[in-house]
């Protein structure tokens, strides 16, 4: 993940240093430490929670080995006297737009599930394929990557588990058998939650719409199975709390 710009369109960020309570890697979201026993001020987000999110880690390096810049790619804290204090730089703007690669699974780097239409739809509104899965994509987005409608995307308005997805605004041309589509549980302004992959660096795009941590989708970049992105903004930022 990376902060790509702010809501005002600029990429000038407020960057602050914070004390660590956990091991972090660059590009991951961090949240404020809520536990008194934590040794520092920030800790890891979880795959399903971005409560009190602080921002995105902007560079972290190994603490223990002095010449390890970039090797470990992680930074942790130490409870040993004499060690350097574990601190990390974080982009803290509440309006920072964060970009995450869409992953087709809980593990980062998984390609999105390819939907190959199995029944023609002359009206251009129905995509049939058991591979749509069981996690509801209602209010998500579907886009065509092969066939007469290539390059078009539509909001999913009906989801039938393991059977089909329906759009209200039809694709411009009829959907033929074997036309290929991709789907994701993200729709700008509508989606209010994003689930992260286990390494906290990508967005898990095979979960039901509305599942995950507090985040509002700003934009989606719809490309292929391994290079589509979602841009989102923290909905419960520590400096602008939802609750």
């Amino acid at each position: 993940m990376q902060a790509v710009k702010r809501l005002d369109g600029s990429s000038d960020y407020h960057i602050l240093d914070y004390k660590l309570s956990a091991t972090v890697v660059e590009g991951q979201p961090v949240i404020a430490s809520a536990t008194g026993a934590d040794g520092g001020e920030i800790t890891d987000a979880t795959t399903t929670s971005l409560l009190d999110m602080l921002g995105i880690v902007l560079g972290a390096s190994g603490l223990a080995s002095p010449r390890s810049v970039g090797l470990a790619g992680s930074l942790t804290y130490s409870a040993t006297q004499g060690d350097t204090e574990g601190m990390v730089r974080v982009i803290v703007n509440p309006d920072a737009i964060i970009r995450a690669l869409m992953s087709g699974g809980a593990a980062a780097g998984t390609a999105l599930v390819l939907l190959s239409n199995t029944a023609a739809s002359a009206g251009g509104t129905l995509i049939t394929d058991a591979d749509v899965g069981t996690a509801s994509m209602d209010d998500g987005i579907v886009w065509c990557i092969s066939g007469a409608n290539v390059g078009q995307s539509r909001k999913i308005t009906t989801f039938t588990s393991a059977t089909s997805i329906t759009v209200t605004v039809p694709f411009r041309r009829a959907i033929a058998v074997s036309d290929e589509f991709l789907q994701a549980p993200y729709l700008p302004l509508t989606t209010r939650a994003i689930q992260l992959t286990t390494n906290l660096l990508e967005a898990n795009a095979i979960i039901a719409v509305g599942t995950g941590g507090n985040a509002t989708v700003v934009e989606v970049i719809l490309n292929g199975r391994s290079d589509s992105y979602v841009h989102f903004i923290a909905r419960d930022h520590i400096f602008n709390e939802l609750s």
């Binding site: 982009i91 990557i145 970049i221």
Partner: protein, 124 residues
Amino acid sequence: MGLTIIVPRAWRTIDKVKSQLFPRRKATIPPAAWIGELMERRMGAVILCQPCIWKYGDWIKRLGYAKHPDIRSKGGRCDGCKQSYDLLPVLIAEEKRGRAEVTRAAMDAEHRRRLCPVPEGFTG
């Protein structure tokens, strides 16, 4: 004793101006210990003002840091001289780039592709 050929340096006006603006480190001052610690041990990203980038250029090169083309620190404080500026460049270790790295140029290319989101060479 070996032969030493001294070539007189030709001082241009710009060299003279720079030498006045950003004087070299004195021999009595240790060479950038704090910046070295920041770069080597603590941070994968450092914030430096332009004079300090020039001053610590050898460290920046040796440890493989480079200015991020897009990200800047707003209202930040230089790690070197501790002076606050409106905007400061952010230097990131080059080897840390990759997974999370993106530039505006790369995003521009994505947006151009959005009109036809099939990646080049896509065969389905």
